[in-house]
Amino acid sequence: MSVLDFLSQTLRIAVPFLLAAAGGVLSERAGLIALGLEGYMLGGAFCAAAVSFASGSPWLGVSAALVGGAVLALVYAVGTIRFRGDQVVIGIAINLLAVGLTRFFLRLFFGSSSNSPRVPGFGGTGTGFLALAYNPLVWIGVIVLPTLGWILYRTPFGLRVRAVGEHPAAAASVGVPVTRVRYIAVAFSGMLAALGGAYLALDQHQFTDGMTAGRGFIALAATIFGRWNPKGAGLACLLFAAAETLQIRLQGTHAIPSQFVEMIPYVLTIVALAGVVGRSVPPAALGKPSTE
């Protein structure tokens, strides 16, 4: 095995993290806890698989994932912004809802409780960078966080997102439509995470029940470990993906029990939150209902 293999496998594992973490950063910078990332991903994975199977076009599958992710995210947004519900409770509910809905439709469409039939993906078989280059979602994954950084720090919308997540009353006092900014941020966070889910389903050419397996939570951990900025979140995603790659490579050698490696993202997040590597300050209005 070469270094190149290790890197390409890391990238392959990192893509869904990168996409979902972009959603996490966007949502949390606007002041809304991104607990539903896992649910948006799972919903996106199912929509992508089902529509790709029915239409034969992975592109239509990706479009369906965007719609599915946005719908789930808007349910969360309506619950937390319009009805000022608790963000943690509604975020957990979104994840449970996504598990139930995908299971229900899996049985309804494909008559299976475990997986869909094989669905068309984006071509490029095997491992290695060449195979990955055929997959447009990989390219999107690579540019998503730099693009988000550009939006957050260079555009008026990004300035407003940062203001809304930090001091919504101040933003409202100068005429920023706090509620609208939050709806938009959450809807896009759902779409981004759903793209991550679509990547998983199309990469594996099928949807399997619960296939996101905690990747949304790893993306949330990367958001926090990366201190809510796109660069940090991107590096955290790559770190977590590298750890997972290492764990896969070490399987069979019994050098380290794989469970320990799987813990790395969460342990690092706790370490980061405990303030070991500098202070980790979340957006000040995170988790608080809008004051507008």
Partner: protein, 508 residues
């Protein structure tokens, strides 16, 4: 030429409280106009109505001769009316330029034009003297600099009428001078400034005209020429009102209790605030049994921190002892058990759990005295509640009623009734009658006097000078974190205290 601002017959009520009752204000174009009055006189409410934050219940608002009654904040901003709130509306994680342009961003294509925004901030700064580095984070600014950013925000949006709500409350003296220079520069450009304040020396120093408010109404409009701090203070306090409020000292003669050893002894008390400033700056005093020490002063001069430090709610240096017992190592509960009772200044924030019943609120902080085994003894709690409700005439007289549904006066009576039920030696009474009706004030004052006559030591903090004068045996004045005066009640006249309170005179 029409006036810049004309408000006539403004009425505004919040629930049962009438904040503005027929208030009028006339501000000429190009003047600095001071709006003065005691706390709760309705100054801020009136200005929030002008800036579109609250709708008025009745009355007319005209700006530049145009009837704008019922407009919104964005209408007001568009018409050139900008308000700088007492609590800054700035996003600490953004830079100065970002805060200034937020909501009205300068762009170059899809991208923020940061350089242009920073240049605008520098240009405005050069023109008005509001100099702040535009690329600094707001979180790193001093309070004075943050205030400059707030004013820059309004100027960036084209404000020609600037309303400042207590702008100097948070500033150091040199910063205050800089602010005056800025306001004078704005006036020279034809801008109009309304300055809300209750510091009289400031009023005399910068304003062209002075409007005095009392109890929601406008009571005087004085040109600066011929105005003295004394004449303004007289209009603010209103001699007739003060006389009606039992101004005469009704306690026992001063000097009583001096021979006995003090119950509360505070030495060298130092409380640090944000940015390492001393909020309470080495204060020394003691309170004897059977004595009320009244602390007068404009709010925000360290009274809150003083009380909280003694109560154990805030870190402090120095010594605090109760009857010889050092309170410093004790937490809030054990200070209570040692004989300290505390009526907090804000009944909603500290005094009550609004969703709890009257009965539960009456044992708050003393619940460990109402237990049987590991559970709360409901029967005893209820009996206690019924006794307290009767003694303090709390209405409705139903122990199960949630505190939230009571009037402010009855809520305050719960707090006072609870704290008086302790077996206490020292009582900290902070703003004990703020926002309560006359009947409740009388009852609370009577109970405080009773406690004093039973030999308790009471430290009374009140922003209401009349209250301090009506109750205290000795009067201290707090200004800038220090006791600038400590007088026997017989020596303390409102005029003299007023001068100490406004910092016009320094002595100790």
């Amino acid at each position: 030429m029409s006036d810049a601002i004309r408000l006539a017959g403004i009425e505004k009520s919040f629930g049962a409280v009438r904040a503005n009752r027929g208030a009028d204000l006339q501000v000429a174009r190009g003047e600095v106009h001071a709006l003065v009055g005691e706390n709760g006189a309705g100054k801020s409410t009136l200005m929030r109505i002008l800036s579109g934050l609250y709708p008025a219940d009745a009355g007319i608002i005209e700006v530049d001769g145009r009837d704008v009654t019922g407009w919104s904040t964005s209408d007001a901003i568009a018409a050139g009316v900008g308000m700088v709130h007492q609590h800054f509306m700035l996003v600490p994680t953004l830079t100065v330029a970002e805060n200034v342009m937020l909501g009205s961003e300068i762009t170059k294509g899809p991208v923020l034009d940061r350089a242009a925004a920073e240049q605008r901030v520098r240009d405005l700064g050069a023109r008005t003297g509001l100099v702040v580095a535009p690329d600094r984070l707001v979180a790193d600014l001093s309070v004075g600099e943050a205030q400059r950013v707030e004013i820059l925000k309004t100027l960036y949006r084209g404000a020609r009428i600037l309303i400042l709500d207590e702008p100097t409350a948070v500033l150091s003296p040199p910063e205050v001078q800089e602010l005056w220079n800025v306001l004078r520069a704005l006036r020279a450009e034809g801008g109009t400034v309304v300055l809300i304040t209750h510091k009289l020396d400031e009023v005399i120093e910068v304003s062209d005209t002075i409007t005095v408010m009392r109890q929601g109404a406008t009571v005087a409009r004085i040109p600066r020429e011929g105005a003295t701090p004394q004449s303004i203070a007289r209009a603010m306090v209103g001699r007739d009102v003060v006389l009606a409020r039992d101004f005469e000292f009704s306690g026992t003669s001063a000097g009583r209790g001096v021979a006995s050893t003090p119950l509360l002894n505070v030495q060298n008390l130092l409380v640090s605030g944000a940015r390492r400033t001393a909020v309470v700056d080495r204060v020394n005093f003691s309170v004897a049994p059977g004595e009320i020490l009244g602390v007068a002063g404009v709010e925000g001069n360290g009274q809150t921190e003083l009380i909280e430090a003694i109560a154990g709610l805030r870190e402090a240096e120095g010594s605090i002892s109760l009857g010889g017992l050092d309170l410093r190592p004790l937490d809030v509960r054990h200070r209570g058990d040692a004989g300290l009772s505390h009526i907090p200044e804000d009944r909603h924030e500290r005094g009550l759990v609004l969703d709890y019943s009257i009965a539960d609120n009456l044992i708050l902080g003393q619940q460990h005295r109402f237990t049987s085994g590991v559970t709360i003894d409901v029967a005893r709690v209820l009996a206690h509640a019924e006794e307290r409700i009767r003694a303090y005439d709390i209405r409705p007289a139903d122990p199960a009623t949630p505190a939230r549904s009571l009037s402010g006066g009855n809520q305050q009576k719960i707090v006072v009734a609870r704290e008086m039920a302790r077996d206490f030696k020292v009582l900290l009474a902070s703003q004990p009658t703020r926002g309560v009706d006359v009947g409740a004030i009388e009852l609370i004052h009577a109970r405080l006097r009773e406690a004093r006559d039973q030999g308790k030591a009471i430290l009374l903090v009140s922003a209401d000078l009349a209250e301090v004068l009506a109750l205290a045996d000795r009067v201290a004045v707090m200004y800038g974190g220090r006791f600038v005066a400590l007088l026997l009640r017989a020596e303390a006249t409102p005029e003299l205290l007023g001068q100490f309170m406004t910092g016009a005179e320094h002595a100790a």
